[in-house]
C-alpha cells in the first residue's frame, strides 16, 4: 500500500442502524432506573475514581446508549464501587448497580 503522508480519518458518525445496543438493552432490563437518568453528571462530579483517573460514569452511560462500547471493559474496571455516585444522584438512579450490570453484559455478549 502506498504511503501518501496521511491516512483516511475514521468516520465518527454514529450509525444507529448498525449500533450494538445489546449492552444498553440488557442493563435497561436488569436495572430499570437507567431510564430516568438525566445525564446531569452529578455522579461524575463526586466520583472518587474520577478524581484520580479519567473514569467518567456519565460518559459511559451515554456511550452505551449509542453502542460505542470500545474499551468499555477496561473503563469500568476503574470504578471502585464505593457508591458515592448513587448518594448524590438527584433521580435516585442505582448507578453502582449499572456498573455491575454492564460488567455482566460484557461477559454475556463480548466474552
Amino acid at each position: 500500500m502506498v504511503d501518501f503522508g496521511f491516512s483516511i480519518n475514521k468516520d465518527r458518525q454514529i450509525d444507529f442502524d448498525n449500533a450494538d445496543r445489546r449492552i444498553i438493552e440488557y442493563v435497561a432490563k436488569e436495572e430499570s432506573t437507567i431510564a430516568i437518568c438525566l445525564i446531569c453528571g452529578a455522579c461524575t462530579a463526586t466520583c472518587s475514581a474520577g478524581n484520580f483517573t479519567d473514569f467518567n460514569i456519565r460518559k459511559i452511560t451515554n456511550m452505551i446508549r449509542v453502542g460505542e462500547i470500545e474499551n468499555l471493559k477496561e473503563e469500568i474496571k476503574k470504578c471502585m464501587l464505593c457508591g458515592k455516585c448513587q448518594l448524590v444522584c438527584p433521580r435516585g438512579v442505582n448507578t453502582r448497580n449499572i456498573i455491575l450490570k454492564i460488567n455482566e453484559a460484557i461477559k454475556i455478549f463480548h466474552e
Binding site: 500500500m1 502506498v2 503522508g5 496521511f6 491516512s7 483516511i8 480519518n9 475514521k10 468516520d11
Partner: protein, 343 residues
C-alpha cells in the same frame, strides 16, 4: 399537496439566467484539473448555440481559494472582484458567468454584502479607483456556467448524438450528481432549486436521458474544503469526506458522477485512485472506479465531441466504461499518445 401548489412553490426556487451576451470568467484551477471543460463550454455556446461570449485576457483569480483559506482579507478579495467587474463594464457586457463555483459564491457574497452595506461598496470603489483608476457597474445578471448549460439543456438535447442511455440494454445510465457547496448552500436563492433541491445538474441529466441516484450522502461535501486539503497532514479528513460519499453511493451501482465545481471532480476522481492505493478498495463495477465528469464534458459527449478533445484522457479514473455504454467511439492509442506527450 395539489399540483398547482407545488408549481407555485417551485417558482420560488428558480433564478433568472441571462440568455445571451455573457462575460465569461475562467477558473484558476480548472484548466489544470480538467483542461477541456472550459474550452468545451465556449465551443458549445459559440458554435452550437450561437451565443455571444466574451472573455477578457486581463482577468485574474478572484482570490476565492485564498479568501476561504484565510490568507486573503475580505477587503482585498472585494477589490480584486471589483476589478473583474470593471473589466466587464469596459468590455460592454452586463451578464457575468463565472466558470468556478467558488468564484460564483464569492461574487454572490460580495454583491449581497454591498446590497446590505452600501458604504462598503463605496469604500471598495475608492480602493479600486486609487489602485487602478478603474470604475465599474454591478452585473445585471450573475449566473454560474452550469446555470447557462441548464438553461439551454433542451437545445443541447435536441442536437444530441448520444444520450445518457446504455446502448446495450436500452436502460438509462445511473448518475450521481454532485453540486459544489458554494453554489447554493451559502445563498440558496441564487441557485436553481435552492439549497434543498438543487436542480441544475438533475435537470440536465434528466433531459439527456440519465437516471438520478438519490443516495443518503448526496449533499455531503466532496472533501475539498480548502484548509483541510491545503495542509498535507489534514488530507485524511478530506479523503474521509469523499470516502463517506463513495460508501453511501456504492450500493446504488452508479455508472458515473457529474459535478459542477472545480474541486469536486478533482477530489472525487483522484481520491478514488488514492483509496485504491491505500486500502485496495474500488467503488465501480468490475473492480474499476466510478468515472467522474464535469457537466461540460457530459454536454460535449452528448453533442458527439471527441472524448480526447474534451480532455477525458486527463482523468485519473478511466472514463471508457461510460463511453462504451453510451456508444461513444474513441481511439484507444490516441489517448496513450496524448498522455505521453503531456508528460
Amino acid at each position: 399537496m395539489k399540483l398547482e401548489g407545488k408549481k407555485a412553490i417551485w417558482k420560488d426556487y428558480q433564478k433568472e439566467i441571462a440568455d445571451d451576451k455573457y462575460f465569461y470568467v475562467r477558473s484558476c484551477v480548472r484548466q489544470n484539473f480538467f483542461p477541456g471543460s472550459e474550452t468545451a463550454f465556449l465551443k458549445i455556446l459559440r458554435d452550437e448555440l450561437k451565443k455571444d461570449v466574451y472573455e477578457h485576457p486581463c482577468h485574474t483569480t478572484c482570490t476565492g481559494i485564498g479568501y476561504h483559506g484565510d490568507v486573503v482579507p475580505f477587503d482585498t478579495a472585494m477589490t480584486v472582484v471589483a476589478r473583474q467587474f470593471a473589466l466587464m463594464t469596459e468590455s460592454g457586457y452586463e451578464n457575468l458567468v463565472p466558470s468556478c463555483i467558488t468564484s460564483f459564491g464569492l461574487y454572490t457574497e460580495i454583491l449581497e454584502t454591498w446590497h446590505h452595506f452600501p458604504e462598503t461598496e463605496n469604500k471598495i470603489r475608492e480602493y479600486l479607483k486609487k489602485a487602478t483608476g478603474r470604475e465599474f457597474k454591478i452585473p445585471k445578471n450573475l449566473a454560474h456556467a452550469s446555470d447557462v448549460i441548464f438553461k439551454f439543456r433542451k437545445e443541447i438535447a435536441a442536437k444530441a448524438k448520444h444520450k445518457l442511455i446504455n446502448k446495450n440494454t436500452g436502460e438509462s445510465l445511473k448518475v450521481v450528481e454532485h453540486i459544489g457547496c458554494h453554489y447554493s448552500k451559502m445563498f440558496p436563492s441564487k441557485g436553481v432549486g435552492g439549497a434543498e433541491y438543487p436542480y441544475v445538474l438533475t435537470g440536465m441529466i434528466e433531459e439527456w436521458g440519465g437516471e438520478i441516484i438519490d443516495y443518503p450522502e448526496r449533499r455531503h461535501c466532496c472533501g475539498f474544503g480548502f484548509r483541510q486539503y491545503l495542509v498535507q497532514a489534514n488530507r485524511g479528513y478530506s479523503i474521509a469526506c469523499s470516502k463517506k460519499k463513495f460508501d453511501s453511493m456504492e450500493p446504488y451501482k452508479p455508472d458515473m458522477i457529474i459535478t459542477n465545481c472545480p474541486g469536486c471532480p478533482m477530489f472525487l476522481d483522484r481520491w478514488q485512485y488514492t483509496i485504491k492505493e491505500m486500502e485496495g478498495k474500488t467503488y465501480g463495477q468490475n473492480g474499476e472506479g466510478i468515472p467522474v465528469f464535469t457537466y461540460e464534458e457530459v454536454a460535449g459527449l452528448v453533442l458527439g465531441y471527441d472524448p480526447w478533445d474534451l480532455g477525458l484522457q486527463m482523468h485519473q479514473t478511466d472514463c471508457e466504461p461510460v463511453l462504451d455504454k453510451m456508444g461513444v467511439g474513441y481511439d484507444k492509442s490516441k489517448k496513450r499518445e496524448l498522455i505521453i506527450n503531456n508528460e
